[in-house]
């Protein structure tokens, strides 16, 4: 990557790694939460909904500070992780956690509305055929929610890739560990003579965003085609 300096290339690969891991790890719990929201009534549902949406509503710095308070070396969970030699504070895994927390509500919102749009009569029909709840979910509900899933993944990936405030507050900026592309960009802007590097990273961010959006659009078109023709 001769277009980018080694530091900039490192920031890009780190950001891609953090965003992929963040989205991959948040997907299963997001699917579970979205399904609960779409299909079940239970006490405290509104409260859970609010908690899930919090990272969208709060200033990212507040979310980052909350993560630091919980997962930092002095935090309740952080101390346990330290004892188990699984510390995530000031490591790339911490950056992935911050990105995942910020992307989570976007996935849940997209998946929930996708699940809600699946005709429940089809799920009933599957049950009369003897299908278990798992089989109904993976055979009927999830495939019929594919468009919502792809849209949610694209949004979540973009959010995780661009995460700045929560990340820098929680895990600071350590080259190769937590200095993601947006943080590297910010630091270049703060450094005299860093404008050309900042411009290069801006181009890279733009290209990643375009590729992600185009990829999602193509996938959506394919799912629509298979729904209509096949």
């Amino acid at each position: 990557m001769s277009f980018l300096s080694p530091d900039e290339a490192q920031a890009l690969t780190l950001s891609l790694k953090v965003a992929f891991v963040a989205v991959a790890c948040t997907l299963p719990p997001a699917i579970g939460c979205a399904w609960l929201m779409a299909r079940r009534r239970f006490p405290g549902k509104v409260l859970l909904e609010t908690v899930i949406l919090l990272p969208l509503i709060l200033p990212p710095v507040v979310t980052g500070y909350a993560l630091l308070a919980l997962f930092g070396h002095q935090g309740a969970i952080g101390r346990v992780l330290d004892a188990l030699h699984l510390s995530i504070a000031f490591r790339w895994t911490g950056a992935a956690l911050a990105a995942g927390v910020m992307a989570f509500p976007l996935l849940v919102v997209a998946l929930r509305s996708a699940f809600e749009s699946v005709d429940r009569k089809l799920e009933q029909a599957a049950a009369t055929l003897g299908a278990s709840a798992w089989r109904i979910f993976f055979g009927i509900t999830l495939p019929l929610s594919l468009r919502g899933l792809v849209a949610g993944l694209a949004l979540a990936f973009a959010r995780a890739f661009g995460e700045f405030g929560a990340t820098i507050t929680f895990v600071s900026s350590i080259p190769g560990q937590t200095r993601t592309l947006p943080i590297a960009l910010y630091e270049l802007l703060e450094t005299p003579g860093g404008e050309s590097g900042a411009l290069r990273l801006t181009w890279v961010a733009l290209i990643v965003a375009l590729v992600a959006t185009l990829g999602a659009a193509l996938l959506l078109r394919r799912t629509r085609n298979t729904e209509q023709v096949a």
Binding site: A127, T128, E227
Partner: protein, 232 residues
């Protein structure tokens, strides 16, 4: 053997039934809104009665006193819904296979495909089927789930004349070949005469009587339905 003795409430509507029939194929007959489909859904486990008992061929499916309520997926009832409900993202073959997952036996699959004349349709998606074809696939899917009984909700509704004749012929054949306990919801007298051995007459959530099929044609309350048939 069909034993239905239960009450059910849906908003303003109240259904109260107490019937016992030894018929192999029982039709629930009445005008729309009389509680036919609610009865069928209660048998399938899709609606929960407020109290009572539902027994099919010595299998207790629901008994409020004994606290029995067999989950839908374990009732082993092949339901053919009025609105068909084929899975839109699956081909005809995969829709049938979804029903057959309990017993993925190729010879059974082939027999059902043959019986219902589905061989040429296997690769199609549900939106590429005519109304009659979709109905036949739905019947095949229900049969392949190896049901202990078949529940048919207006299986000939919304079909044009030829499609109706075609599906009716297949259902007649099923009745001859399989001898499955069948409960049929219908408001069409000719359909009932062709497919049922006995008829439960429903009116506004109440049972007016159970007739053997031979007596059914003479019952005055079917005159409307007969006029409807004559008008076709």
């Amino acid at each position: 053997m069909i034993e239905l003795d239960f009450s059910l409430a849906r908003g303003e509507f109240a259904l109260q039934l107490a019937l016992h029939s030894e018929a192999r194929a029982l039709a629930l007959f009445g005008d729309s809104g009389c509680g036919k489909t609610s009865t069928l859904y209660a048998i399938a486990g899709l609606l929960r009665p407020t109290r009572g008992r539902i027994v099919l061929d010595d299998r207790v499916l629901f008994d409020s006193q004994a606290d029995v309520d067999v989950p839908v997926a374990r009732r082993a009832l092949g339901v053919v819904f009025q609105d068909v409900r084929l899975f839109p993202h699956l081909s005809v073959r995969d829709n049938l296979r979804y029903g057959a997952s309990r017993s993925p036996d190729a010879s059974r699959f082939d027999a059902a495909v043959q019986l219902l004349g589905l061989a040429a349709l296997l690769k199609r998606k549900p939106d590429q089927l005519s109304g009659g074809q979709a109905r036949r696939v739905a019947i095949g899917r229900a049969l392949l789930s190896e049901p202990a009984a078949l529940l048919l909700d207006e299986p000939l509704s919304n079909l044009h004349r030829e499609a109706r004749a075609e599906v009716l012929e297949h259902l007649r054949e099923l009745k001859r070949e399989l001898a499955l306990t069948t409960i049929l919801v219908s408001h069409q007298a000719d359909e009932v005469r062709a497919l049922a051995d006995a008829v439960a007459l429903l009116d506004d959530g109440h049972l007016r009587g159970v007739l053997p099929i031979a007596e059914f044609a003479q019952e005055p309350c079917v005159s409307n339905a007969r006029a409807d048939v004559a008008a076709r």
